[in-house]
Symmetry: C2
Subunit: 117 residues, 2 copies
DNA sequence: CCTACATGTAACGTATCGGTTACATATGGT
DNA sequence: ACCATATGTAACCGATACGTTACATGTAGG
């Protein structure tokens, strides 16, 4: 996965409305743009732009059927990140590392290192 | 995890330099701001701002020791998303769903539904 | 003390984001 | 043909993102 793709993916996920759209489309595969719009207070155009962002990140794929556009959720990009994280970060949450515990231990190691140079 | 926290988390991850900073700090726990800066072409201030973003997202925790700030990676926020995804999206990548396959199948189901109303 | 160094803050310019209103296109149904 | 419906595009606006330069603070160490 190219770095730019990752930028687009995380950027797309960095908005509550877009994450909600993903949830909606995931639970209503093949739904239309208007269907999604009904669940939001914002204008249809705002939703449309969110859909464009999600499509650019490949989190949504669409297919035009007549005059309506059918929306489908695509988990592939998420799975790529998922796979990377399971391998790359596995050591960090292996023991359910809590924030505080981690910092404390790291600090103590540092101090110990200073004490005996 | 609150929605705003998730916004901050994904926003923080949506920049290649910030992801690189995470990698660096992860491999050099307790390193300083200047240490990180050495790995980038951009100015020290730019790096500093990236660090602030990462800290706001709790992906980095820091501790001031004298005049230097020690940086530590924190996987906790990532683990929260990880956990959510493994449960919520598991059905989608259970069979290693590819983009094309998924759309095709969904469409065929739709057409079949139309054919026999 | 005084100098060098590590870090932080302020002010600013440009680009992108997120939303709006107004207008345009295209398809379905009567 | 006509009209309602579903979607898309254009122009615009305020807020935020990302980077810069200049200046400020605070600590280490001779």
């Amino acid at each position: 996965m190219v770095s730019d793709d990752m930028d687009a993916l995380f950027q797309a996920l960095a908005h509550a409305d877009r994450r909600r759209i993903l949830d909606l489309v995931k639970s209503m595969p093949g739904c239309s743009v208007n269907d999604v719009t009904k669940y939001f207070q914002t204008s249809r155009i705002a939703v449309l732009k969110h859909l464009q962002v999600l499509e650019r990140a490949r989190l949504l794929v669409t297919r035009k059927e007549g005059r309506v556009r059918e929306l489908y959720f695509n988990a592939a990009p998420i799975q790529l990140v998922y796979d990377r994280w399971t391998t790359e970060f596995s050591s960090f949450w292996a023991g359910t590392v809590t924030e505080l515990k981690y910092v404390t231990e790291a600090l103590e190691a540092k101090k110990k290192q200073k004490a005996e140079p």
